[in-house]
Symmetry: C2
DNA sequence: TGTGATACTTTCATTGGGCGAAACCGTGTT
DNA sequence: AACACGGTTTCGCCCAATGAAAGTATCACA
């Protein structure tokens, strides 16, 4: 739409409608993640570059609305609103609701760790996860994201994208992240693997994410003919080789995915 | 602090540091809850009273930062940032982490629905919940809140507050909400029940929240001598009478709570 | 094809609210 | 007592946030 990048007034942000003060507040909220349980005002300033009085006002506002809480000693933590919002969003998703029973069944019949994930840009977002008792598993939780190209769910979902969409999402990927021994290291290699996945209809990851981890994924379909999500079974390499994944586990996985797909279409 | 309510400039909000535009953005975010999965721009305007151009800008900003997503047909939904933030906050809480195993054990040995909750103002916030197969249960999920005075966990946690704190939290409570047949209906009645709870060290709710539901709760302690959370067992009244709750179930519950407390103190 | 309604997008002028420098405060440390 | 540090409050400037109003796209119904 905006053709006028003629002047140097392009601004850093592409959105002409962005409200700066709101964006700053969101930026502060996003500082809190799995590794960052609590922060002090000073740390918020350091990490964001926002001057202290402004950060103070932002924090006051976030606190007032329950998005931040203060521990007795003044540390700032995500507040109730964040919890309620997040859980509501997660549970509100019909995909998650509908998957609950099939996933539980899958986990029980196979005894393995199972996951449900969707594609967000170049990342896989884990929407549900049922862990088994394996000592070594990927360190992900509901809400975590991982680079799509190193995971079986991610590659599966990438495989169903058009060439253009694929470019858009992973065109800039550097393939240099720390990953497992068999990780893809170039776009060409990725394209080849995606072709195989398209061919066989399922996706396997053999120690691509990390040493010792394998997984197999299949698609979940909604009403449209593109997959809306992926389900997988993740195992320790010590207990299952690649062929084992292609056998009974894949069969159970397919049943679960089909079950979820049917329930989705029935909505 | 601010003694000057002398002028009529008291303003609706008590916070002199509030940033209006940020607050409005948060208000929009909060529209999304368990019953509100998606909204249109027009609905956002109607529900908040924010004029459309402003709402448009707010939504653009929230979208840009991943706090809102747009379905193919333009409906607005909570975005990835909300999911990741919320789950991170939930999982980041050491209380939830530490409770996982004991709660699972409790659920398995008793076969009942078990919950973990904390007190937020006059509400109980459910941090963890393991449901059994009962047809009728309270319609709560992780992240849900319920009025403390109608729940066993809530009353238990209220019972440990000082008179002043109690006043502050439920001083304005009207006791008129739709609740179960045995719900407390006055502050005096509540005080009496809290006294009993303090006496016996556990809390029972017998169809106070809703017809057909009973539960029993005990406290979880951290390093301080006030409880940090409550654990409960929630049953259908058709399968357990009140005396049954006081028996073996209470015993198992106490063990789980003690287990969690020990783990908390070991951190 | 035309008419109108609806929902959203863009413009624009006006102004109040957001902004950061700087001063201030409280607490702990040397 | 002097200092440092983290947080709070003041103050005045000015621009970014605001909403009225105009513009556009889409759909429904004739």
């Amino acid at each position: 739409m905006v053709i006028s990048d003629d002047l140097e007034t392009v601004k850093k942000s592409g959105n002409q409608y962005r409200i700066e003060s709101l964006a700053k507040g969101l930026q502060v909220l996003k500082l809190f993640d799995e590794n960052t349980v609590s922060l002090r005002l000073r740390e918020i300033c350091e990490r964001t570059g926002i001057p202290m009085p402004t950060a103070f006002r932002i924090v006051s506002t976030l606190e007032e609305d329950g998005f931040l809480d203060r521990t007795p000693d003044g540390d700032l933590q995500p507040g109730v609103s964040v919890l309620t919002l997040g859980s509501a969003a997660l549970r509100g998703s019909s995909l998650v609701q509908v998957s609950e029973k099939p996933l539980r069944h899958l986990a029980e019949t196979t005894g393995e760790t199972v996951n449900l994930g969707i594609l967000i840009n170049d990342q896989v977002l884990y929407l549900a996860r049922l862990r088994n008792a394996d000592l070594v598993t990927a360190n992900v939780q509901v809400g975590s994201t991982l680079p799509a190209v190193y995971t079986s769910m991610g590659k599966l979902l990438l495989a169903f994208l058009s060439e253009a969409e694929l470019d858009e999402r992973i065109g800039g990927h550097s393939f240099t992240a720390v990953a497992g021994p068999n990780a893809v290291t170039s776009r060409a290699e990725l394209d080849a693997r995606l072709a195989v996945i398209r061919e066989q209809g399922y996706s396997i990851q053999d120690q691509e994410l990390a040493q010792g981890l394998r997984s197999v994924s299949v698609p979940v379909f909604g009403r449209a003919d593109a997959p809306v999500a992926a389900v997988n079974i993740a195992v320790s390499s010590s207990r299952h080789d690649v062929e084992s994944l292609r056998g009974a586990l894949l069969e159970h996985l397919r049943e679960a995915a089909a079950d979820i797909s049917v329930r989705l279409k029935a909505l």
